[in-house]
């Protein structure tokens, strides 16, 4: 495609042919106000907020739907354009309930922002406002139809991206209303995105409803741990609690959306039931112990086994829920002890879900690719769990140390591993159930939202993850546990590795001999 040269507000802009004026302006940092336009959706240009002046055209043109042309001269700040913005804002606010105080969107509301720019402090509207109902449009979404500005982003999303089309517009004119058929609520796995793209507070997440005013949220950039796609996300938390998760735009990973599974994945690790003290399996079953004891016990047991049966009788199991760095530290630590056999817990597998504009991976852990590749790189080989079980049965493996970190309900599959044959088995994990683990030592690890590190998604994209909060109780980040263990074992951990982890951002870190970014 050839480039087009045009002038926007006296600035020369060169963009590919077919670009809209709005996007061209955006590319040079000129923000044209808009409601209905969304970069991930079609542009019906119905909000009439993005009108700009184009030289030679007597009417203002909608910048979101007008393609650039060579030599076009666009002005976004003329009195006429501002008058148009002001006028449109007055129309918007005439029937808007103006209930910002109780609206969850307040603070991140486009309508609110624009009314600072082009709104008026007083209203000429003295008529009766059209009132519309509050509608339950789905299990997690509620529609305050009163606040709706009819930008139809939600309708278009459900038609164009999820392809499910649950929402539509009913009635005409000022009585137009977003509507859902009673027997077809918005239940598709991408539904949460319509809350994100709603420019006002019309569509609200029931989960987040009334929880917190947005200006008190702290946002942390991270990646979604729910599946191997590892969508880029923004975790919004307040007072150490995750309150909501929103997608971050990342063309290489998830585009602009995330699925609801990922959106609410934090519940999988949050709340009661998290393991928060080290547990040691003794004569009286599992008992609490402190960290020094736990680490000392692990070090002592591992050294004993290694001395008695040789270093290769110690095996390790990496985790797809742990970061690349944690897996690498695990592998290096045990390779330095003489271990040769390593394995990786498989991520729970489901069938992938495909939508017209999005795909959810079937591998339900974020770092499957990263963990596998890291362990292979360090250990040279990676046994399947079945192979490891064979080795245990044959008595060639006497001690196993494992990373865990799986979410609630997806405990690591260690039932068939023959753990009872082992002399020592320790695992760092987040949950223990009665069915659980025949481990000698269970160390409370961190959930993906409590970690710092790097993950590699199924497409080979490396992403940095950041800690939103501290692990609960005495639980520690898995990296810290491994470092403590390394210290207790007097093992030398590669300085490069620690430095690499400490020097953010990790995504730029060339962590192995074969790291090459996108595969």
């Amino acid at each position: 495609m050839s480039d087009v040269r045009l002038t926007i507000d006296d600035r020369e802009v060169v963009v590919p042919e077919g670009t809209t004026i709005l996007e061209a302006a955006r590319s040079v940092g000129i923000e044209i106000p808009h409601f209905c336009y969304h970069p991930g959706l079609s542009a019906p240009s119905n909000c009439r907020m993005c009108l700009v002046e184009v030289q030679g055209q007597d009417k203002l043109v909608p910048s979101c739907a007008t393609a650039v042309a060579d030599g076009m001269v666009v002005r976004t700040g003329t009195p006429r354009v501002h008058e148009s913005h002001r006028s449109v804002m007055e129309f918007y606010l005439s029937n808007h309930p103006l209930d910002c105080p109780v609206c969850d969107q307040a603070g991140e509301c486009v309508l609110q922002d624009y009314s600072y720019g082009w709104g008026s402090a007083t209203s000429r509207f003295e008529e009766t406002k059209v009132t519309q109902p509050v509608k339950d449009v789905g299990p997690d979404i509620v529609l305050y139809a009163d606040r709706c500005i009819m930008c139809t982003r939600c309708v278009r999303f459900l038609r164009e991206v999820s392809g499910t089309g649950e929402l539509s517009v009913i009635h005409r004119g000022v009585r137009s209303e977003i509507h859902v058929a009673g027997d077809r609520p918005v239940t598709n796995p991408l539904a949460g995105n319509i809350v994100d793209i709603c420019p006002v507070g019309a569509l609200c997440s029931k989960d987040f409803l009334f929880k917190c005013r947005v200006w008190w949220l702290t946002s942390t950039a991270s990646a979604c741990p729910r599946c191997a796609r590892a969508c880029s996300i923004r975790v919004d938390s307040s007072e150490g609690r995750i309150l909501r998760i929103k997608p971050r735009e990342n063309a290489a990973v998830n585009g602009m959306w995330i699925c609801d599974e990922g959106r609410f994945a934090f519940r999988q690790w949050h709340g009661a039931g998290r393991l928060d003290v080290p547990l040691v399996n003794g004569d009286r079953g599992f008992t609490h112990c402190d960290w020094d004891e736990a680490i000392a016990l692990a070090a002592r047991s591992l050294r004993q086994v290694a001395m008695r049966y040789g270093g290769e009788s110690v095996a390790f199991i990496g985790s797809p829920w742990a970061t690349i760095e944690e897996n690498m530290l695990l592998a290096r630590l045990f390779v330095s002890l003489g271990a040769t056999m390593g394995s990786l817990w498989p991520a729970p597998a489901e069938s992938p879900q495909r939508f017209p504009g999005f795909e959810i991976s079937g591998e339900k852990a974020w770092n499957v690719a990263g963990a596998r590749r890291t362990l292979m790189d360090v250990a040279g080989q990676l046994l399947t769990l079945d192979r490891l079980a064979d080795e245990i049965e044959r008595g060639r493996v006497r001690a196993v140390y494992a990373l865990g970190g799986a979410y609630r309900g997806a405990l690591v599959p260690c039932d068939d591993l023959g753990l009872e044959l082992l002399e020592f088995f320790a695992i760092q994990t987040c949950f223990v159930t009665d069915k659980g683990l025949k481990a000698n030592l269970i160390l409370p690890g961190a959930s993906p939202y409590e970690k710092v590190g790097t993950v590699r998604n199924e497409r080979g994209v490396l992403q940095e993850v950041n800690a939103v909060m501290s692990p609960p109780g005495q639980a520690r980040r898995d990296w810290d546990i491994l470092m403590a263990l390394a210290k207790a074992l007097a093992a030398t951990v590669d300085d490069d590795l620690t430095r690499a982890v400490l020097d953010r951002p990790a995504a730029q870190w060339n962590y192995t001999r074969s790291a090459s970014g996108n595969e």
Binding site: P101, V102, V134, F210, K211, W215
Partner: protein, 196 residues
């Protein structure tokens, strides 16, 4: 008013008088003949003696022993506070006796002392989506600045003229929703003419 010479000495109330503002009461010159006083850079011999000066200073303090006292002997005497005095908070009720607050958190946001804590929830009434399930003000932390009142879009929170706020434990001073609504019942008929 006599203008004292020299740049150091400024006649009391002069700055405000020059700006055309009313002279504050405390700056009003005492009635009586105003003698022009001159202060030269060099102290006179009399001043150098110090002792008479000391005695005069001492007397100026001692004199007050039998002068009128300003202390208000609470609780026997009750001080009349002005109409826009900012005392304990109250949560207003509407004409149907329901809490006016819609849990918009603006008071909490505006509060410079971080003494307001609200928990919102779906309202049991159809005319509003949201209301405060819990509403707590730490009266010990409060600086009684009145910003909450200013911020409130519903006129739901107000400061009353009640200033005798005592308790024997810290948690007594954490006023919850019920207490704050009770404050409204106690002060229902009060008017705050200067604030709105």
């Amino acid at each position: 008013m006599t203008h004292l010479p020299g740049p150091i000495f400024n006649a009391p109330g002069r700055a405000t008088a020059d700006r055309g503002l009313p002279t504050p009461a405390y700056d009003t010159p005492r009635p009586g003949p105003q003698k022009e006083k001159r202060l030269s850079a060099r102290p006179t011999f009399f001043q150098r003696l110090i002792v008479p000066g000391l005695l005069r200073t001492w007397w100026s303090g001692v004199r007050h022993i039998w002068q009128k006292k300003l202390t208000v002997q609470w609780p026997e005497q009750v001080r009349e506070v002005s109409d826009n005095y900012r005392g304990v908070h109250r949560l207003n009720k509407d004409d149907r006796g329901r809490m006016k607050c819609v849990a918009c958190f603006l008071c909490q946001t505006a509060c410079p002392a971080n003494c307001i804590r609200i928990e919102a929830g779906p309202s049991p009434w159809p005319d509003r989506p949201k209301y405060a399930v819990r509403f707590t003000i730490d009266e010990l932390r409060c600086v009684f600045c009145g910003m909450c009142e200013e911020a409130c879009p519903e006129d739901a929170i107000e400061l009353t003229r009640i200033y005798s706020l005592v308790g024997t434990r810290r948690d007594e001073m954490l006023f919850d929703k019920e207490q704050l609504l009770t404050m409204y019942d106690l002060t229902r008929d009060e008017k705050h003419p200067l604030r709105w």
